[in-house]
Every structure is written in structure tokens, then in C-alpha cells.
Symmetry: C2
Subunit: 102 residues, 2 copies
DNA sequence: AACGTATATAATCAAATGGTTATATAGGAG
DNA sequence: CTCCTATATAACCATTTGATTATATACGTT
């Protein structure tokens, strides 16, 4: 495995808020608006975390109208997979907002 | 697995110089003096990287006179193990210095 | 005891990181 | 077209990180 990709993925994983995002994503797609509630940080902050995960090849997105649904990529690298395996799935982060389109 | 430990270990892993240290350690014990040559950074910088790995429970040390030999801990967590597995073992970093006591 | 070597710690600094607010972009509803 | 909502980007700022130099500690040698 390319050591530069490894470093990039590890940097993307090494943040507690991003680990929480992965806990949420473990059980399926989640839209950005729900993440904002879960993490208790601003929407732009969430957007920047998701970008970091996306650029590391860990998550991918799907547009649904004005919303975006994020999910884990299909083929995770062994390192990312081992991190996801260790995380407890957090189902509390999905479809809680009144207007969530999930 | 404790999410705080996970975060701490991931932060310890998410640095290219520390990944190089682990590449060296994959094939066995290495003393600090050799690391300095390999990474091309100062001795205190190496010492601080090693401390971070030690405090994350990834490496341990053994005193040999004035030297210290570092090695991977016996029971790595699944995440750390998967990172080590992905790294190519770098044998060029051992016992190269004239006065290395390895 | 005095000196030299190996490693660790302290002090300092520049760069990277993660947050905020403000603004841009894009799509759906009226 | 205009307005509202969802998301992304830009600009900015405080904190953290990783390097350096200087100093402390510990051990071996003379």
C-alpha cells in the first residue's frame, strides 16, 4: 500500500469528530444535516470534516435534491476497515431531524 | 475498543516520520541512534516521536547501557497491527552506524 | 572525580489543524 | 424570477504539532 495514501487516510481518521461520523456511517447512508446535530458543531465544520474523509477515499456522496447523503466507500483499505470494525455503530444519528429526507 | 485510545493511537500513527519508525521496527529492535540517521531529523525530534508512540502503547523500550532499544509491543491492537501489516519492512535502518551496539 | 556519549526534557517558533462567521452555489417551492 | 433551504467554500483565528537549539540526566571510561 502506498505510504502517502496510508498517511493521508490515517490523518483523516485521527480525529474524534471524524470517528463519530464513521460510527454513524457504519450502518448506512446519513445526510449532512443529521451530522450537524450529532456532533454539535457548525455546518461548515461538518462539511470540512466530510471533505477530508472524501479526499482520503473513505466516504463517498450521493446527491438527493438539495441534500447530500454520505456513505462509506465500497472497498475500504485494510487499515480503514480495521478502524470501522473497531467502532461501535451509532444508530442514533440517523433521520432524527423533522425534515430529514432519509 | 476504547474510542479515546483509538484516537490516541491513530494520532500517533498519522505522521510519515513515525510510520518510517514503525517500518524499521517491523523487523525487530532498533536503537535511537540509528533512527536519527534514517529520518534525517535531530535526535530530540526522534526522541519526541518515540515518546508519542510509547505513550500510545505502540512501542516499548529496553535499556542497554547508555543506549535504548525500541521495539513494537507484543500485543498490538487490531488497528495498529493492520498498519504495521501494510508497511514494508525497512531493514536498512539497523546497525549502520559504526558505533551502534546492536 | 572528571569527561564523553546516548537519550530525554525544556523552551521556542513556524506550520498545520479545527473551529467560527460570512459568503457562494445549487435546487425546490411559490 | 424570487425566496428559502442544504451544502460548500473563503477568510480568519486559537490551538496543536513537529521541528530546532539549549540543557539535563544517566551511564561508561579514564
Amino acid at each position: 500500500m502506498d505510504i502517502q495514501l496510508m498517511d493521508k487516510q490515517l490523518k483523516a481518521l485521527a480525529d474524534s469528530n471524524r470517528l463519530k461520523l464513521l460510527s454513524c456511517l457504519k450502518s448506512g447512508e446519513v445526510c449532512v444535516c443529521d451530522f450537524v446535530e450529532v456532533l454539535g458543531i457548525s455546518q461548515p465544520a461538518v462539511s470540512q470534516h466530510l471533505r477530508k474523509l472524501r479526499e482520503a477515499g473513505i466516504v463517498t456522496e450521493r446527491k438527493v435534491g438539495t441534500w447530500k447523503h454520505y456513505r462509506l466507500v465500497d472497498e475500504l483499505t485494510p487499515i480503514v476497515q480495521s478502524v470501522v470494525d473497531e467502532l461501535e455503530s451509532d444508530s442514533a444519528c440517523r433521520c432524527n431531524s423533522v425534515n430529514a429526507p432519509c
